[in-house]
């Protein structure tokens, strides 16, 4: 099996994007944004353009349905030598998806720049030029440009406080229902609804009719798309000499004839069904994430096949590995700016394992373990695995998860039902539905099957809000009033005054963000409907309404990723200590020193660095951190979205804590201009936690999830802590994490490279604990000889 895994990986071109925004040196530019074999795929753009030219004058929803149908009908398809699950996002294996209907300018710039020149050849560049000419003024980003004026135009552009994005719409289709009805069932449902409105003639008769017709167009096109694969497989099988390959192709043909038109009967059919839906969801619209509860959804099929003797464990594992390979193929073109938040990402896909069913019973089954096995053998960057942990999660599962974490993959990352289900309920999700939550990418929580189309509206740099609070909202370089007009820091009498001004800035920018987001959503609802996605979630066909015309009634769908909360807390603690208690400098003096990036006043910077830091189980600063999180969320919640639901924060960080920190000057926590922030909402600033992993969890536990948002916590561990006699202790550590109701944790298992980096830059690794025979020590404190020894051992262990 391991061998198959390796072969699969060798055959797939990784589309993970490289982070070029930061440290954009000549050298990195030459490296390119994508690997050199990756090519921008123009076929979807070409077909969409063709269709759009023909459908001019029709309703937008119909035009988009027809365009998708046209793509599905004419896109080049192929089946690769090893495939049992088929379907491709692009017209060639090396193709890179480009949603020209969203945005073309940055992509055109990209293919003409050093970082992206390998993406197209000259003929391709010429064709792209022609296609862009059609989309000029019509793609979504052009529509913004044209529509936004005044403040909207001003705050829409990234300045450093928030990065608005409409790169993606997440959401998880209602696979449970689809597996029961097949797409034929959905078509029938739409037809019935059409017949019904002929009787009732509702006031929005025209909208409903156009929408429902579009649904039927796309669903038929998807069935036809699968049919094309069935025919191709049959054709290939006819001329295939190798018996085994022939059988495999015949299998593919049979499967694609059956699904997704009809309900799947076997594990393989269920997987192929899912994959067609997943793929077309990506093709309709630039989308990220997966979010299916893999074990819950496929486990029953697998177990039935096993009982009937239709499948062996090894075969099922192979099917999962092939599915993993399909996930790995998906990708998306990113602009250089976006790489600053998505460095290393292909499509940010995560699958969910474990957790409970609607009634609250544990769902762990054989497939849960098999999926972990697939992840361990494939070792791919995507999909990441979100493992839901609750009071009745079997110890066996925690143990297997630990084995996978130990290999250094960075996942499964663990989600604590005990913290998150109550949070979802607070957001208005009924308990039964909250019990079924899933994670689609990073820590994005979703309710599978529900109409949750839009997730991240942007990245919000809280540390920059604090910085504005220290500058009355005025940029000292330009003199421009950019943030809220808060009080003069010279009049602040305590850290609480600074905090109050910070919250005012948070409110100001959240309001601006909401204005941008709400108008954008309106724009997308009008120009970018999604008939296919609407057809596969709960409620749209029933209501006769496209998915952007209404929303699942909860604040689960509206989130802004918050960054730098730890730096805000550490900064406020430093102000409290250095300015108001030790009185080493006045606040205006501190601000001046800070604005000079501490130059010439290293003494003050050191005093700020030596002030208590979050993550050491020290109430002095931990309670400030709690106030920062609780206060930020409460402030954000006062602002409402288009449907009247509160905005909220979110702990997903991707690589933004690194990428976006570039635009935040020095902060009072001793951070230098542009230095990265703590890497997640719950994480201490790197190197600042000196009391070990229990103290970190104690600090985290002081922040109440219910009063905040879902969080992210990264912990660094040496592999030796997760194996042998220490493994049970590690699992006990996880159980304590669960009991403390900290919503999330994931582990970076330290590898050789990290340790070498720690030798070079000890200041950034003050917190790295290693195990030397008989005791644990801070790595940076050890002699060079001993460090080298540990590096050798670590390499050996991970091999």
């Amino acid at each position: 099996m391991v061998q198959i895994a390796q072969e699969l990986k060798n055959n797939i071109a990784s589309k993970a994007v490289r982070n070029v925004q930061r440290g954009y040196t000549e050298d990195e530019k030459m490296r390119g944004l994508f690997r050199s074999e990756i090519k921008l795929d123009l076929q979807r753009s070409r077909l969409m353009t063709e269709s759009f030219k023909q459908s001019d004058g029709e309703a937008v929803v119909v035009r988009r349905a027809k365009a998708l149908a046209h793509v599905l009908e004419h896109m080049d398809i192929f089946i690769r030598d090893w495939e049992r699950i088929v379907g491709y996002q692009t017209s060639s294996p090396e193709g890179l998806f480009h949603p020209i209907d969203m945005n073309w300018r940055s992509v055109k710039r990209l293919v003409n720049s050093e970082a992206g020149k390998t993406l197209l050849d000259d003929a391709g560049r010429q064709e792209l030029e022609e296609l862009c000419a059609y989309w000029k003024g019509k793609c979504m980003s052009d529509r913004h440009q044209e529509l936004f004026e005044g403040d909207l135009a001003k705050y829409w552009k990234y300045e450093g406080t928030f990065l608005w994005t409409h790169l993606s719409e997440l959401g998880i289709p209602d696979y449970e229902a689809l597996f029961k009805s097949g797409l034929n069932g959905r078509i029938k449902m739409a037809a019935e609804r059409l017949a019904e409105i002929e009787q009732t003639i509702p006031p929005d008769y025209v909208d409903q009719k156009e929408f429902l017709r579009s649904v039927i167009i796309v669903l038929k096109a998807v069935i036809n798309f699968a049919g094309r694969y069935a025919s191709l497989a049959k054709e290939m099988a006819a001329s295939e000499q190798d018996e085994e390959k022939k059988r495999r192709l015949e299998d593919v043909a049979r499967t694609c004839e059956r699904v997704p038109a009809n309900p799947p009967r076997t594990f393989l059919e269920a997987v192929q069904f899912f994959y067609f839906i997943h793929l077309v969801r990506y093709l309709e619209y630039s989308t990220l994430g997966i979010g299916i509860r893999l074990d819950y959804l496929f486990g029953p099929f697998y177990e039935k096949d096993l009982q009937a003797g239709r499948i062996t464990r090894d075969e099922a594992l192979e099917i999962l590995q092939l599915l993993w390979a399909k996930f790995l193929e998906l990708g998306l073109v990113y602009s250089p700016l976006v790489t600053s938040v998505y460095g290393g990402v292909a499509s940010l896909q995560a699958i969910t394992l474990g957790g409970t069913d609607r009634a609250g019973n544990d769902v762990t089954n054989e497939l849960t373990y098999l999926a972990l096995e697939a992840a361990r053998t494939m070792r791919t960057i995507e999909p990441s695995i979100a493992l839901r942990v609750h009071d009745h999660t079997p110890d066996e599962l925690l143990s297997k998860a630990t084995d996978v974490i130990r290999t250094g993959l960075g996942y499964p990352s663990l989600f604590n039902d005990g913290a998150l289900i109550p949070l979802l309920k607070k957001w208005g999700v009924p308990e039964e539905e909250a019990n079924g939550y899933a994670v689609s990418g990073c820590v994005y929580m979703e309710i599978p099957g529900k109409n949750i189309t839009r997730r991240v509206d942007g990245y919000f740099v809280l540390a920059k809000c604090l910085w504005w609070a220290l500058h009355r909202g005025v940029d000292p370089k330009t003199g421009e009033q950019w943030g809220a007009k808060t009080a003069d820091p010279a009049n602040f009498a305590s850290w609480e005054d600074v905090f109050a001004a910070y919250l005012e800035q948070v409110r100001f920018f959240t309001t601006k963000m909401a204005q941008v987001e709400n108008t954008c959503r309106d724009l997308y609802a009008k120009y970018c409907p999604r008939p296919f996605y609407s057809a596969i979630v709960d409620g749209c066909i029933e209501k006769g309404k496209e998915c952007k015309q209404w929303i699942y009634p909860s604040m689960v769908h509206d989130m802004t990723i918050v960054i730098g909360s730890t730096n805000v807390a550490d900064s406020l603690a430093a102000i409290k200590k250095v300015v108001f208690e030790d009185r080493l400098v006045s606040l205006p003096e501190l601000i001046e020193i800070m604005d000079n990036n501490w130059e010439g006043r290293e003494d003050i910077r050191q005093a700020c660095l030596n002030a208590p830091k979050y993550g050491n189980d020290d109430d002095y600063v931990d309670l400030i951190a709690r106030d920062v999180h609780h206060g930020t969320e409460a402030t954000m919640e006062t602002v409402k979205d288009r449907f009247g639901f509160s905005k909220r924060g979110d702990g997903s960080a991707v690589s933004a804590t690194y990428g976006l920190a570039v635009n935040t000057p020095a902060t009072p926590d001793g951070r230098l201009d542009g230095e990265p922030f703590a890497d997640s909402t719950l994480a201490p600033q790197p190197g600042m936690d000196r009391k070990g992993p229990t103290a970190v969890l104690n600090s985290c536990a002081k922040i109440d999830t219910l009063q905040t948002y879902n969080h992210l916590l990264n912990q660094k561990f040496m592999p030796q802590f997760l194996e042998g006699q220490m493994k049970p202790v590690f699992i006990d550590y996880l159980k304590t994490w669960r009991e403390m109701k900290i919503p999330h944790i994931q582990f970076n298992v330290v590898d050789k490279q990290t340790l070498e980096d720690a030798q070079d830059r000890p200041e950034a690794y003050q917190d790295l604990i290693v195990r030397v025979a008989g005791y644990s020590a801070y790595f940076v404190e050890l002699s060079k000889g001993l460090q080298d020894h540990i590096i050798d051992r670590t390499e050996h262990r991970l091999a």
Binding site: E602, D603, Q606, A607, N610, D617, K691, G692, P693, T694, A695, N698, F721, G724, Q725, M726, P728, V729, D732, Y733, K735, T736, E739, M740, P762, I769, R771, V772, A773, G774, Y775, S776, A777, V780, E781, L782, S783, G785, L786, H789
Partner: protein, 308 residues
């Protein structure tokens, strides 16, 4: 040299409280390291624990050569030159420790702090949830914890009152009258054996082992014991010596033997203390030998762990 006055307020001299300690007894623990040791083991991996007074520890890595310490030192023990950087002449240093506050870059630090039982216990209790889930608790180690037996007894007693699992990590080098007083408050003893031959013991640690061995015999009648031994090539890793270790383990009915292969962990700390490392030739047995030792002990029917 002026020794700082020993503490009259009933405080103990602690040099480290290590949380998430997972090798000093079962589960997740917090280990309280007491300062001061009557032994002087050449291989000591915590040389900063040896003196019964706070020490100046110097981390050259952090020094920015700002000169603040040079200005403040009353003994003229610190010099700052462009060529050699900041140097401390340990012979002149009186350990007055005033330079520590002057250094804002954490290059000069104190090792050792007087704390009350309450202060130590507060820190220990913070990880109570972890102890409960893992069967962990508090371990008192050193230095040699028995040197400050009175403080240690009160700390253990307070720990037991909080229903903590308690472990004492000791060489056992104290009179039986002292050891006896602590036993009611100890659930587990981690007994550090260096060598079973008294002469060899004295050669490498400065003291003989009669008292230690006697104490093991007596304590083993009522207490659970884990034996721990640093494994040092050419010193205590011979088959004959290990056979004796096994005999002792059986006689004292210990639960397990932990062997800690030697490492030069004490070297960088000696540098920070301004001392020369006394054991530059120290070596652990090679991996094969360690495996065969492990096999030998297991064959004798004992539980054994390496490096844990």
């Amino acid at each position: 040299m002026n020794l700082p006055k020993s503490n009259d307020n009933g405080e103990g001299l602690v040099f480290n409280i290590q949380r998430f300690s997972i090798h000093d007894g079962p589960g997740i623990r917090t280990t309280v390291f007491m300062k001061g040791c009557p032994l002087n083991c050449h291989w000591c991996s915590n040389p900063e624990s040896q003196d019964f007074f706070p020490n100046l520890m110097v981390r050259d890595m952090n020094c920015r050569q700002c000169g603040a310490c040079e200005k403040i030192c009353p003994e003229g023990a610190i010099t700052l030159t462009r060529e050699a950087g900041r140097k401390i002449e340990r012979g002149k240093c009186s350990q007055c420790l005033v330079c520590i506050d002057a250094c804002i870059y954490n290059s000069l630090n104190v090792c050792g702090k007087y704390m009350t039982v309450g202060e130590v216990l507060d820190e220990v209790l913070k990880d109570r949830a972890f102890y409960r889930n893992s069967g962990g608790g508090m371990t008192i180690s050193g230095g040699e914890a028995l040197l400050q037996w009175e403080f240690v007894m009160r700390l253990l007693r307070a720990g037991k009152r909080q229903e903590l699992h308690t472990a004492l990590d000791t060489s056992g080098y104290a009179t039986w009258q002292t050891v006896e007083k602590l036993l009611p408050f100890v659930d587990l003893i981690l007994w550090d054996i260096k060598h079973l031959d008294s002469r060899e013991h004295k050669k490498m640690t400065g003291v003989g082992n009669h008292m230690i061995l006697e104490n093991i015999q007596k304590a083993s009648k009522t207490k659970t014991i884990w034996l721990r031994m640093p494994l040092i090539a050419g010193f205590n890793d011979s088959d004959t010596h290990l056979a004796k270790l096994i005999d002792l383990a059986k006689e004292a009915a210990v639960e397990k033997i932990s062997l800690l292969p030697y490492h030069e962990g004490g070297k960088s700390k000696c540098e920070q203390l301004g001392r020369t490392y006394p054991f530059p030739a120290g070596k652990a047995p090679n991996d094969e030998r360690i495996e065969s030792i492990k096999g030998m002990i297991e064959k004798a029917g004992m539980r054994v762990s390496i490096g844990v």
